[in-house]
Structure formats: structure tokens, C-alpha cells
Amino acid sequence: MNKITSYYRLKDNRLTELYRSLEISYPKFFKMDRLCKAGFLASEMVFRSLGEDPQSPKHDTALVFMNSSSSLDNDMDYQTTILPGNYYPSPALFVYTLANIVTGEVAIRNKIFGETSFYISSEFSAKELIITAEGAFDGKGIRRVLCGWTEYFKDACDVLVMMVEKDAAEGLDFTEKNINQIY
């Protein structure tokens, strides 16, 4: 049975305040959209609780995130830069108009070399999370999967990031019941 060896639930939208309180030095954070910031911070907390250095390469780790609003929160910001009569498309906003950018940001920060993927679903589903995360274990050499629900839309932050490990001695069983309990 795969086990959740660490998790972080983030519902507070004061992302910059959390970043500062963690005393992280990663200037790229400020350029990220809110979805990336939320996924980044929750992942940071998971790796911290595991005592892992973000800079140590992680060849045995895959990454699977899901949400329901995709990158709509940032897409709406971008839309304000392409209005008729005020058409100055922002490249910095445009690069975040894809939901899977959050997986890239987290993978770069934490040197995750396993496969990364992002799925859009109508609502949070522990069952779907299990199916997608367990599929990621099929990757060569993958022993653990950083996975979760990374939803951010209109100031509502709804994030749960978990580290799920194969054959871990300790942790919560990676079951629907346990996921729903920590969500």
C-alpha cells in the first residue's frame, strides 16, 4: 500500500506573507501567477517537513497536480491586457496561461526529474487523485509522487499537496478515506 508521508493543506490566500515568513530566497516567486505561488508554497512545506533540500536532484519523484479552474485566475488578468483600445499583451502574464506551468515551477525549484502532469477535473475527487497518482508510479525508477489538488480562483485558495511513497514504513495509507480526511 502506498503511503502519504507528508502533506500540506493551504487555504489561506496570503501567499506573499507565507513566502516571507518561510524566509525563502527565490526571486522567481514574485513573477509567478497565484496558482503557481500556491502550488509552490504547499510543495515547499511538504519538502521541508521531509527535511529535503530543494536543490538536491530527485530522480525518483514524479509530480501530478489537478484542479478545476485550470489557469482561469491568471487568464482573466491576462485578458485585461488585451482589451480593445488598451491592447498591450503582457508576456509575463501570457506565460502563465496554462495550468501545467505550476508543475514546471515546482519541478524546477525542487529538481524533480520524474514525469510531471496536470489534470483538469470538475471537482475535487480523492478517487481521481489516487488513479492519476498511482499511474505516475509506472514511470521508470519512480518511488514516490508529489501529488495533489491545486485550485486557485478569484482569491479562493484550495490546495492540498501530498508526498505519496511506495513501500514506506510510516505514513497514512493512500486511500480515499484518508485523503478526504486531510482535505
Binding site: F30, S90, A92
Partner: protein
């Protein structure tokens, strides 16, 4: 010119979300890319948009970009000579 340089530094900080940097931290003559502020290619595009939006300057010759965006000082000089607003 000093006023334009300060205004430009503030606009760069805002446009590029350089939240931990103040205008005083930006060396007017230091390289904007790689060294200095360490800006990347997306930042370069954002600076092109900034020039058009705030000063009405449309860069049509990509070959000139390297010289124009060398530092805040070179940007300010170009803006002063070519601004339409």
C-alpha cells in the same frame, strides 16, 4: 534626465514584479540582463511592452534591442530621443 531615470526604474520594478528591489538598488549603468538585475527573455518582452505603453515607442528593429536594453541609462536615453508621449 534624472527624473526620467527614476520614473523608469519604478516602472521596471512594477512591470517585472521585482518586489524585493527598490529604485536605489538598481545601478543606472549596470547591465539589465544576465548580470545586474539578471532579467530573462520574458522580462525583455515586458520591457518592449513598457516602452510602447508608457512612451509610445514601437521597436521595429530587433537588432537595436541589445543596445537599447543594455542598462537603465541606455533605455532612458533612447526614450528621451524617441518618445511620442
Amino acid at each position: 534626465m534624472e527624473e526620467l531615470i527614476l520614473e523608469l526604474k519604478k516602472q521596471i520594478i512594477e512591470a517585472l514584479n521585482l518586489e524585493e528591489i527598490t529604485p536605489d538598488d538598481i545601478d543606472t549603468n549596470a547591465p539589465l540582463f544576465v548580470e545586474g538585475l539578471g532579467l530573462d527573455s520574458i522580462d525583455a518582452l515586458e520591457l518592449i511592452v513598457l516602452m510602447e505603453k508608457n512612451y509610445g515607442i514601437k521597436l521595429t528593429d530587433p537588432g537595436k534591442s541589445k543596445e537599447i536594453f543594455k542598462s537603465v541609462a541606455t533605455m532612458a536615453e533612447y526614450i528621451q530621443a524617441n518618445r511620442t508621449k
